[in-house]
Structure formats: C-alpha cells, structure tokens
Amino acid sequence: MEREITIDESLMPNQQDPRYTKRFFTGVVGAAALLAGIVISILVGAVEISLTDIAAVISGDSSGVNYHIIYNIRLPRIIVGAMAGINLALAGAILQGVLRNPLADPGIIGVTAGAGLAAMVIMILFPERSGLVPMFAFIGAITAALLVYLISWKKGINPLRLILAGVAVAAFFGAIISTLMVFHSDKVQGTINWMVGGFQGRSWGHVSTIIPYTAAGVVITILGSRYLNILMLGDDVAKGLGMRVEMTRLGFIALASFLAASAVSVAGLLGFVGLITPHAVRLVVGSDNRLVLPFSALFGAVLIVFADTLARTIFNPVEIPVGVLMAFLGAPFFLYLLRGAMKR
C-alpha cells in the first residue's frame, strides 16, 4: 500500500511558537544581506563597476575588461569567501553543540593549529612549494583533529576531555610554529597574511576545492540538526531515546573537522567567524539547532562577504587582512547583541 507523504508538524519550527515571526524575519534579513553583499562586492574595488556592467556580463557580453574583473577576479573571491564563512560558522555551531561548550570553535579540536603548522612548514622550509599550502593545511588540520580525538578517547568521548586534549595539542603545535618563526625570522613576513587569513587572489580553483565540503556540509546539516538537538540533552537522555551517541558525536566532529579544514585550506587561519557567528545567531533565534545551523551558515557567509569587501576597499589600494577587520567590526556588534540579551 502506498503511504501518503505528510510533513510531520512536530519536526518543523512551529508557527504557533511565539518566536516564529522573529525567526522568519531574521531569515529574510540574512538572505537580503547576502544578496546585497554580493552585489556591492562586485561593484566596488580598485575598478568601479556599475550595475549596467553587471547586467551586460550576465547577458553574455564577455568581451570587455569588466567581464574579466567580474568573472575572474571578484566573483570567485566572493564565492570562496562566502563558502569559507559557511563552513567555519557551521563547524563552530556544530562543535558548540556536540561539546556542549560555548567556547568551542574549530580551534578547539586542533584544526587551526594543525593547519597552521603544516602551512608554516611549507611556507618557511619549502617556500618554492608554496602551491602545496592548501593541501598540506588541509591534511594538517585533519591529522590534528584525529589526534585530538584519539588522545581523548577512553571508552567513549567525554566532551571536556576532548576540549582539554585539543587545547594541549594546539599549545604543542603552537610551540613548534613559534620555534620555526624564531629560527627563520627572515621568512616570517611572508607567512603573516596566511596566518591571519584572507582572500586575496582567490580563483575558481579555490572554489572547486571548497565547494564539495560546503555542499556536503549544508546537506548533512539540514538532515542532521535534529540529532544535534538530541545530543544537547546529555548523553544519558540521548541514549535513552535510542540514539547511538558515540557514533553520532564522531560523525559530527568529523563533519566539523572537514568543514573547518577545507575553509582554512583556502582562506588561511580565519578566526572569529566560527566562534562568534553561532552565538550571535543563538542570541537572535534561540538554541534550536534546526535554526542555529542554517542561520549560522547564512550569516557566516554574510559576515565574510561584507568584511572582505571592506578589507579590500577601505584603505584602497592597500588591503587589510579580513580576519583583523572582522574582529574589529564583529566584536563590538557581538557585544551589543550580548548586552541586549542580558537585559532581557
């Protein structure tokens, strides 16, 4: 017998929920902001481009220099930035949920330190191979995450033990990075841009590097956010509900590691997005991960697209690193949200 497919209302964010309007509005604002950010980012820069130019390029005019600027320079950079934002914000939101710790971010499972060390080794010791940096950063990130996971495994994963193991591994890798920098201080200058993260000169090649992870991340997130909610109830309740807690947790940590590693490999060590975006989102829409995850992805993209546009135009022609700018602008905004939340 064929079964009628119905949407289970208990699975949907409920319309009777008093926060429904606010959430809906937040989604509209986020989508509009992303669209506006993309358009503005195409328009402004060393060469000013007008809306008519964009229209011309969209309609298939590939002859002028504007086509080259839009299609080969600005568009890939915007897409890479947006995807890195999505990946980092998702990774942060997932880790904060899985580890039940508000300070969790991709750095806490060793991803940042592992990527940093691998990239530094290439940039300092094998500068002629600098094309390999993204790949090695990715491998370093995944290796470090795996190491942290294995160290903290003892008949299961205790979130606190995982966090402490992550901190220890990060400190150890950090020490190696510092040592490298001390002994090769002449080459440090060239690594700074990568270490603070940025999107200068990102091309379609970078887009194709990160896109599979973003796509998989978004799909799994939509399907899996429900499980993250269950994990938030604690291991015992989750087990009582028939969830395979260790498997699920491993799946989420692996997903977060791949998301963060792919972002770091194309963007360098961008902090802030992964830690702050999910918090800002939670302050507005609440802690339901069915909303936190998609909204984090959306606003992670918005944040990076805007910040990167500012970073390359504000002191034109000098570019400032987007990571620095993001913290400059994002931190006060986050504090503003936090103050608002405390008043309630």
């Binding site: 119905t6 289970d8 909610n229 309740v237 009582g240 509900l241 028939g242 802690s287």
Partner: protein
C-alpha cells in the same frame, strides 16, 4: 508487558565494582521503588536496566534478548529512562522537548508517516501541561518541568518507564503531583514504573513492589509491607524507625540513627 530480566549482573563504575551477581525480574505492569542509602548502587542498577551502563558480566534481557545486542531504537521503543535532574537548553519549548520522545520512531530523514503529532498532544494532555506547550521549559516551576520530562518519556510510547529520583528537589505538593501522575499512568495505561526514590513514605504509598538495596545487593524484594520494616530499615539505612499502618497503607516514622 515485556519482561525484563537481570541475570547474574556485575556492574562497575571504572574499576570499582558496585554490584555483583545481581538477579532481578520485572514481568508485571507494576510500580517498583528501589530504595537504599547513597552509594548503595540503586542508580547504577537503574542505569543498567536502561542500557546506559554496560554490565561487566551477565546480561539484561528484554523478552529474552540482550538489550545490548538489540538495536538501540528497539530498546528505546520498549522502555524510556529519565536520569536524575536532566538538563535541556534554556529556551527549548515544552512541545519541542516532548517531541524528542518520538526519536526512536523516526528514520534518518525525520518523518516515518506515523501519527507523531497526535502522540505528542496526547503526552502533553496526560501530564496536564498542554497550556505550557509553547513556553520555554526553563520558565516552568520544578514540578511542571518534571512533568514535561515525563511527557517526553511518555511520548516514547514504551510500556516501561525508568525514573531516577523523579521527585528530588520538589516541594511536597509537587512530589505528590508527580507520584499521582505515575500512579495514573500505571493504572490507566499499564505502564511499568521502575524508580529510584528516597522518600520511604512515597515508596510505601505508591508502589506495588519495593526493592531494598545495600552495597549492591538486594536485601529485600517484595510488597511495601514486606520490605519497609523496622528490621530492614535498620539494616539498609542504619536508622531506627517506627512503622504504622494507616488507611490500608503503611507509614514510616524515622526516629534517628542506630547507635
């Protein structure tokens, strides 16, 4: 109902053996209270029944099958377990919390076509918290919050409910509310309630069966009248107590520590 059987169970936390060679059976829809001093292993026993703790030796079976080889979801459809003071995110609504109870019936894509929404409404109604459905759990009083958690367990539609100190931290009014709710669920829906409880009078008044535990061993297992006696209380808790009979149930008046 489904039969639960604990067979020569050794339970340990880390390296410390808490329970050794335990045998127990539950085969009737009854209210069972497990009583015992702090650290006597009563919560450990409850956890092992609820599949939260893997026994070092022996098996816990559900209708003859080892609960650790059965699929987790199958077990979660047969029994629900609430740990002591469970914690939920601050802003989760009662309805969202209760809907977690449907987890064992959902597949990876969420919906299985069953009447989830109907069952969630039923669970809210049975626990009398319909009016709070869209309130954040955190804004409820302790008693209401506990009923929300029980509604979640109820939404699992299991024949067996395991509860670890369901009335701790509640005032006397809300304690009675919870106990009467459990009694109603037992009488109306034939749900077996197995709980760890500290209040001996609640254990006496509301349970069909009381199990007294000391250092991981069962001292007495039987009706409240058989178990809650001066001798057993002395042995299990090391207290002097007087047992009175009142309106068909017994009342225990603790008098002090045995010296």
């Amino acid at each position: 109902m489904k039969t639960i059987s604990l067979e020569s169970l050794d339970l340990s936390y880390g390296d410390r053996l808490v329970v050794k060679g335990l045998d127990l059976r539950f085969e009737r829809p009854e209210i069972v209270s497990i009583i015992g001093a702090n650290g006597s292993g009563k919560s450990t026993i409850l956890k092992s029944i609820g599949r939260l703790l893997r026994p070092r030796k022996g098996v816990v079976t559900l209708n003859g099958k080892d609960i650790h080889t059965l699929p987790a979801k199958t077990v979660a459809r047969a029994m629900s377990i609430l740990p002591q003071s469970p914690h939920a995110p601050d802003d989760i609504t009662v309805k969202d919390l209760v809907s977690f109870g449907r987890t064992p019936y959902r597949n990876f894509f969420g919906n299985n076509g069953d009447d989830d929404a109907e069952i969630i409404r039923w669970a809210l109604k049975e626990t009398n918290i319909e009016e709070f459905a869209f309130r954040p759990v955190q804004t409820l009083s302790g008693g209401e919050r506990q009923r929300a958690w029980i509604a979640m367990a109820l939404a699992q539609k299991t024949g067996i409910m395991l509860l670890d100190e369901p009335t701790t931290f509640l005032d006397i009014h809300h304690q009675f509310e919870i106990m009467e709710l459990l009694q109603r669920l037992n009488e109306k829906h034939n749900i077996t309630v197995i709980m760890v409880i500290h209040d001996l009078n609640h254990a006496a008044k509301f349970s069909h069966r009381v199990i007294a535990v000391k250092q991981g061993n069962i001292v007495r297992d039987g009706t409240p009248e058989e178990v809650i006696t001066e001798a057993t209380l002395k042995e299990v808790f090391g207290i002097k107590a007087q047992i009175l009979s009142m309106n068909g149930s017994i009342v225990c008046i603790p008098c002090g520590v045995c010296r």
